[in-house]
C-alpha cells in the first residue's frame, strides 16, 4: 500500500504576542480560543490522523470514538481533510475529543468565513468556552467576534482557573478572507493571515 500524507502542513499562525499589546490589524478578523492540545490533520475517508509534521499520529487509536463521529458527520467527498485540535494527555479535560478548527478544500478559493459556514453548528456543535467538553466527543471551535476579542482575552484565563488547568492558551486570530494555502515545503512556515496571541505561562 502506498503511504499517503496530507496535501499540506497545517497552517501555522504568526506569533502576535499578547493580545493586549497587539497593534491594530487591517481587514476583518475572527477569533477562536487557542486550545491546549495536539494539532492534527484528519483524513476523513479513513480516519487517519497526522501531526503538524505530517507524520502519522501515534496515539490515533485513543481518538477512535471521536473519529467515528467525525466520519459519520462529514461528507468525505466534500471534506477529505480537516484541521483539528486533539485533546489528550496534556490535561484531563476532554480526553479523546476532537475540535474541528477548519476544513481543507480541494480548491484553494474558499475563504475562512465560507469554510466555517459549511460546518453547520446544529450538527457539529461549537465548543463554547464556558463549557467543559466531555471525553471522546466532537466539536467545532468557537468563533469569537473581533469586537469581543479583548473581553475573551481577559475571560478565558478565569475559565482556566475553574477548569484547574491551562485548557486555553490564548486566542488565534484569522482574517475572514484568508484562504487555506496548501504547502509541503516546511512545517514551520508561518501564514501571515493567521495570528496567535498567547498568555505567558
Amino acid at each position: 500500500m502506498t503511504a499517503f500524507i496530507p496535501p499540506t502542513y497545517p497552517l501555522r499562525p504568526i506569533n502576535g504576542g499578547p493580545l493586549n499589546k497587539a497593534l491594530p490589524k487591517s481587514g476583518d478578523w475572527s477569533y477562536e480560543p487557542k486550545y491546549n492540545g495536539w494539532r492534527t490533520l484528519v483524513h476523513v475517508p479513513t480516519g487517519a490522523m497526522f501531526n503538524r509534521k505530517c507524520e502519522r499520529l501515534s496515539i490515533e487509536s485513543e481518538f477512535a470514538p471521536a473519529l467515528r463521529l467525525l466520519r459519520a458527520t462529514l461528507d468525505a467527498e466534500a471534506f477529505e481533510w480537516v484541521d483539528c485540535e486533539a485533546l489528550e494527555r496534556r490535561h484531563g479535560i476532554g480526553r479523546g475529543t476532537l475540535i474541528v478548527l477548519d476544513v481543507i478544500p480541494h480548491e484553494n478559493k474558499y475563504d475562512y468565513g465560507q469554510r466555517r459556514a459549511w460546518l453547520t453548528p446544529g450538527i457539529l456543535p461549537f465548543l463554547y468556552p464556558s463549557c467543559r467538553p466531555e471525553d471522546n466527543a466532537l466539536f467545532q471551535s468557537a468563533r469569537i467576534d473581533a469586537k469581543l476579542a479583548d473581553e475573551y482575552w481577559r475571560l478565558l484565563p478565569t475559565y482556566n482557573v475553574h477548569f484547574g488547568c491551562g485548557f486555553f492558551e490564548g486566542l488565534v486570530a484569522k482574517r475572514t478572507n484568508s484562504l487555506y494555502p496548501k504547502q509541503l515545503r516546511s512545517a514551520t512556515e508561518e501564514y501571515h493571515l493567521w495570528m496567535k496571541h498567547r498568555w505567558a505561562f
Binding site: 504568526i14 506569533n15 502576535g16 504576542g17 499578547p18 499589546k21 497587539a22 497593534l23 490589524k25 487591517s26 475572527s30 459519520a72 458527520t73 462529514l74 461528507d75 466534500a78 471534506f79 490535561h91 479535560i93 484553494n108 465560507q114 459556514a117 459549511w118 460546518l119 453547520t120 453548528p121 446544529g122 450538527i123 457539529l124 456543535p125 465548543l127 463554547y128 468556552p129 464556558s130 463549557c131 467543559r132 467538553p133 466531555e134 466527543a137 466539536f139 468557537a142 468563533r143 469569537i144 467576534d145 469581543l148 473581553e151 475573551y152 475571560l155 475559565y159 475553574h162 477548569f163 484547574g164 488547568c165 494555502p181 509541503l184 515545503r185 508561518e190 501571515h192 493571515l193 505567558a200
Partner: protein, 234 residues
Amino acid sequence: MRYTPSTVVDQPTMPAAGLATPGAAPGLPAAGPGLKKVNFGGITKKKEDTKTAYPVVPDPNGQFAIIAARIKQRVDEFDALEAALETDKKELRCLVTPFYFTNSHGKADVASSVSVQSAAGEVLVTFQNRYKQLPDERSLVPILGEHVASYFKQSFELKIDGDKLPADGADDLLAKLQALFAEYNAADALSVKECVKPQSDFHAKRHLLLTTEQNMAIDEACPIVAMIKTKGRK
C-alpha cells in the same frame, strides 16, 4: 444529514452580551449534544508546578528587577510589532506579485524590485534569485507538464554537495557509496536530504518563456524569496 460545501448556513459568532461565567453561562445558547456545563465539584486537581527552580540572584536595590521587568514588557511589545510588520510585509508582497510578473513578462533584463510609493516614502519589494525548496515536483507538474525538468531539478545532500557531482556519474557514485557503507555495516550512518529546486537559469528564463499565469501558479508552489526594503529610500 451530512455536511457538504453547499450546506451553508448563517453561523453565529459569540454573543455580544451576557458573557458567561463558568457554571452560569447566561446569554450563551443552550449547550448542544455532547456538551457538559462546568461543574465546580469536579474541578481537576491542579498539577504540581514542574518549573525548575534556579538560584535567585540577590538584588538588594531592586535594580535587576527593574531591568528584568522592562525586558519582559519589551519582548511582548516587540512580538506584537514584529507580527504586525511581518503581516504587512507579506501582504504587500502578495499584492504586488501579479504586477511583478506582468511587468517582467517577455523581458530578458528584469528589474529586481518594484517600487511602492507612499506618503511616508518609498518601499521596495525586491524579488531575489532565491527560492524555497520543494519536497518533490508534484505541485509543479500540473503547471509545467513535461517541461518540469527544464526548469527544476532534484537536489540532495549526503554531507557532500550533490549539486557539484557530475550529472552523468552521480547515480553510480552514490550506489557505490551506499554499498561501501553497507560493507562496513554503517548504512544507517548515511542520511540524505532530498529536495527539488529551480535550475540555475530559472530566474532569468521564467519571464521569457512562461506566461504570467504560469509564473503566478509556480509562485504559489515555489515562492520566490522577496524582501521589503525601506532603508535608503525617500
